[in-house]
Subunit: 201 residues, 2 copies
DNA sequence: TGTACATCAGTGAACGCGCGTTCACTGATGTAC
DNA sequence: TGTACATCAGTGAACGCGCGTTCACTGATGTAC
């Protein structure tokens, strides 16, 4: 006997977010529709309007959550090491790993970002993730494994590199079949660039 | 007195390509529609079907042309210098400059690539552009300013970096207002990474 | 403990929209003889 | 040089589609008294 869905869902907001991530993973940000996500949540096609102002707001929420997960991924990877330089390197690998595991989610976060003014929680989550990278650089400088200088600028270089790797790998342009090959390449690339940054004036 | 358009356009294929690029520059790859591009070309909404099998084919042609222009941009920048290492650096800057000048066109080339199997001319144009980067590395190795080693791998690192810079800058994430600041940052980033690659084993 | 009532969180029908694509067509062009 | 005819490159009407959003609604819940 099928138990009928109660009229009140109870946790629809969270369910919609999760369904959105699953849907985006299947069809990408462009194929994403409000109606389909409602279908996946087993709810009428305008129930989502109780929880999100419009489609863009739902996407902004998805992107925000992505940045929170990214932040966590960076921190988890870094936490496995003690020396600041190694922590930084590991965070870079954590970045790429996150992007490879959730390529479409990553695309929502970056390719079609919602207007930052109208979605402050999105901007905040993005800033927080970047702050982790920045923090590692500052730690390296304190440790002495990185030269003094504009930490923000160093962080932007690192971010550019891992973002580039993530995007190229995610669309199959690195020509590497296996994830482990991509991760090995990432390690090489990040180490090389890091060595160059260390020598920067 | 308005001269009526002749029934036969004469050069519709090229006109459609140019209109597509203009349209994409305005609304991005997602907002791009066949009907609007036909409107811009002053032609009925299914005249394009005489020249392109479907929407995807038109987009693939746009992307191919983008890669050809990118190739040219790399070559032009490199041609201003003599030493291989400087030529390589300049090509990297040419890459970023191209992406900044045509951010939406660049997005068509990378964010929603057409299936490579069904659009061989697209794959060829992309490979050609990458070949330019690769060629510079080989020249550097011959010149002695770059260590022996997997040139292809080095090229992928360089590509990742400039792609990352291009995408982050193009979506306003580097926090730099002016193009010249972005270009200055690019130069710094490329030089640093290059220094690291030179020391790579 | 009951009850009236405000509020919240859903439903289902309906709207207008522009899209990609197909169809049958027609005007213009080129070529064989 | 003329002409029949195939072919090419357009046109305009029509198709079905799914979308985002709005509307009026109803069932469920919580709270003041």
């Amino acid at each position: 006997m099928v138990s009928p869905r109660p009229y009140h869902h109870g946790d629809l907001r969270r369910t919609l977010l999760q369904a959105s991530i699953r849907l985006i993973a299947q069809v990408g940000p462009d194929g994403f529709t409000l109606r389909e996500v409602a279908r996946m949540a087993g709810v009428s096609h305008n129930a989502p309007y109780r929880h999100f102002r419009d489609k863009e707001s739902l996407l902004a929420a998805v992107a925000s959550q992505g940045f929170q997960q990214l932040t966590r991924s960076l921190q988890e990877h870094a936490a496995r090491h003690r020396r600041a330089l190694e922590r930084f390197l590991a965070a870079g690998e954590g970045y790429v790993e996150f992007a490879l595991r959730w390529p479409q989610h990553y695309a929502v976060m970056f390719d079609a970002p919602p207007p930052r003014e109208s979605h402050p929680e999105y901007a905040a989550a993005a800033t927080q993730a970047f702050g982790v990278l920045l923090g590692h650089i500052v730690e390296c400088q304190q440790e002495g494994s990185f030269p003094a200088g504009d930490a923000h600028r160093f962080a932007l270089v690192a971010w550019s590199l891992v973002h580039g790797i993530a995007k190229l790998a995610g669309t199959g342009r690195l020509g590497m079949k296996s994830k482990s090959k991509i991760m090995r390449f990432s390690r090489f690339a990040i180490q090389s660039s890091l060595r160059g940054l260390v020598g920067a004036r």
